[in-house]
């Protein structure tokens, strides 16, 4: 009698427990979808060719957001130029050359540290070093350099993981056939790790594109009458623009705010989806 009852209790507990967990998960997932749907529905009416290709008028309250879009593209590009080669090279070092000693341990702690520094502290650092000390001024250059250092740990971690996933046996065979370590990396390890590295790079740049605090004092401008000409110019940027129009501009039309948010969201989603697609296609095509 007692055994049967306790089994029913346990099954009941399991059913309740699983239901609770499913509820929790749904409560986490549904808001994500809701956010996307909400922004799309509220922002879509504002999207037009003029909006995407025109300049703002009337103190941001009308017109388009082209300079912000272009500015974000420039910043993302600038970040890529500095952080991608450096990050991949550092990952190659950690995965293929470094031995497990105190120095390697220190490098890893440094990377963990860089990953955890608040974005506004990066802004302060960028201000101190690039804007003031190196006298680049409030510029695309200063902002890109700041964003690059912030993006570095993401790229290094993802790249190192991708490199380590390549089977050790490939390296052994390559060396046994008379290859040097660099030849092995260049011809086998790096090409095989490339999809994983690419995914990490895209996700890192996605974050950089959406960040506001690091560019607040290093490169972002509220309003510029023209597009930037050189890396030493300041620039408008989508996340900063959204921040300004939703908090600093009185009587700002809601529609334009949502439109800007939608463009930013689209940017981020595009990169996210690209990264996911690359990852799953690579998994299917793997030759090991």
């Amino acid at each position: 009698m007692t055994v049967k009852r306790s089994r029913m209790d346990r099954t009941l507990m399991q059913r309740l427990g699983f239901a609770l967990m499913s509820l929790v998960a749904m409560l986490t997932i549904i808001p994500i979808l809701a956010v996307i749907v909400y922004i799309v529905s509220k922002g879509a009416p504002a999207i037009s060719w003029e909006f995407l290709s025109g300049f703002p008028h009337d103190g941001m309250r009308a017109g388009g957001i082209l300079p912000a879009i272009v500015g974000t593209l420039y910043l993302t590009l600038g970040t890529a130029v500095f952080s991608v080669p450096l990050g991949i090279a550092a990952a190659i070092y950690l995965s293929e050359y470094a031995r497990e000693n105190w120095l390697t341990r220190a490098i890893r702690i440094a990377i963990i540290n860089l990953a955890g520094i608040p974005s506004v502290v990066y802004g302060l650092f960028g201000l101190g070093l690039f804007v003031l000390f190196l006298k680049f001024g409030t510029s695309i250059l200063a902002a890109s350099l700041t964003l690059s250092i912030m993006t570095l740990p993401v790229i290094i971690s993802a790249s190192e993981e991708a490199l380590r996933a390549v089977p050790q046996s490939f390296r052994t065979v390559s060396i046994a056939l008379g290859g040097t370590r660099w030849q092995t990396i260049r011809r086998i390890v790096l090409p095989q790790a490339l999809p994983g590295i690419l995914t990490g790079v895209i996700l890192g740049l996605e974050r950089a594109a959406g960040e506001t605090a690091p560019i607040l004092f290093t490169g972002a401008a509220f309003f510029l009458p023209q597009l930037p000409h050189s890396p030493l110019d300041a620039t408008m940027a989508l996340p900063y623009h959204l921040f300004v129009i939703s908090t600093q501009v009185p009587e700002m039309p809601i529609q334009i705010q949502y439109g800007t948010a939608l463009v930013l969201l689209a940017f981020v989603l595009l990169m996210n989806v690209t990264a996911t697609v690359i990852r799953s296609r690579a998994r299917a095509r793997r030759q090991w």
Binding site: V24, F125, I149
Partner: protein, 298 residues
């Protein structure tokens, strides 16, 4: 080997090695600049003043305690959200959901982690805080609560991703052993799998805390920006100011080299140190438990 090859063989490994060391260089640089511009604050403002409860730079009151309590209460609130939802979702994805559902939901959770904080702050202003104001009958919805809810949402993907990896890493044999002894799947999760993944889950939570303390834009947009001491129980329903929001909001208006400027850098230095401690702690948990596991298995 031709000449071009041996040039490559000489230069490239050295460049790679130099890149490897770069992380250390950058951390040192960041620390140096924060110190350089932040330490003068200690000389210009008396320590007692710095630790006082009044933050009003216009009248040269630089008490940072309200900012610290502001950060703390928002972080605490955020973790109260992130822990149950983060671990619950991780458990669901790793142990309960069927394969296909997991493949669909995981990228969605990752997507949340990629959403710009300014966008969530934006929605916070337009949607969440009016809702809180009406629903909880408050004078304003721009409160620590709004910040905690949003920050909890931002921390959840970090917690889910790492906790889920940790649960995934628990060997199947642990679960199979428990089932063979007659435990239900539910019992197994809570009594076997989760404890086995303990260190990874702890790491996930600590990294979630790190992410939360460091958030800037969202809190700046929804917490009301009132630098008051947030130590009463109902403080969460009041506006507060975090350390990060203070820097972001005021840095644009200070004169370079002024006392206010130095104090803001000082706060930045504090944030750097806090995140250093949290993140190094989180990673050492992983290192230590790996070593323990090696000892047990050898």
């Amino acid at each position: 080997m031709d000449k071009k090859n041996s040039w490559q063989e000489f230069v490239i490994p050295r460049l790679i090695r130099a890149s490897g060391y770069s992380a250390i260089v950058f951390v040192a640089l960041i620390f140096y600049f924060l110190l350089r511009e932040g330490l003068p604050a200690l000389a210009e403002v008396k320590l007692g003043e710095l630790l006082s409860q009044r933050w009003y730079p216009i009248e040269a009151h630089f008490g940072i305690l309200p900012l610290i309590t502001g950060s703390l209460i928002v972080t605490l609130g955020a973790m109260l959200v992130a822990i149950p939802f983060g671990i619950g979702t991780a458990v669901f994805l790793s142990e309960i959901a069927p394969r296909w559902l997991r493949e669909v939901l995981k990228p969605l959770v990752e997507l949340l982690g990629g959403l710009p904080s300014v966008m969530l702050g934006f929605l916070g202003i337009l949607v969440l805080s009016p809702f809180l104001r009406i629903f909880l009958n408050l004078p304003t919805g721009l409160t620590a609560l709004a910040g905690s809810l949003l920050l909890g949402g931002i921390a959840v993907p970090t917690v889910v991703s790492i906790a889920e990896d940790a649960l995934d890493a628990v060997p199947m044999s642990y679960r199979e052993g428990a089932w063979a002894l007659g435990a239900t799947r539910w019992q197994t999760i809570w009594r076997v799998t989760l404890p086995a993944a303990r260190s990874g889950v702890l790491t996930a939570l600590m990294l979630g805390v790190g992410r939360t303390i460091g958030e800037t834009m969202t809190v700046m947009m929804v917490t009301g920006n009132a630098p008051v001491m947030a130590i009463a129980l109902d403080s969460i329903l009041h506006p507060v100011r975090t350390m990060t929001a203070t820097i972001a909001a005021e840095m644009g208006e200070v004169a370079t080299g002024s006392t206010h400027y130095h104090v803001l850098f000082f706060i930045g230095m504090l944030l750097f140190l806090i995140s250093l401690v949290v993140n190094v702690l989180a990673s050492s948990v992983v290192f230590r438990s790996k070593k323990r596991a090696e000892r047990v298995l050898s």
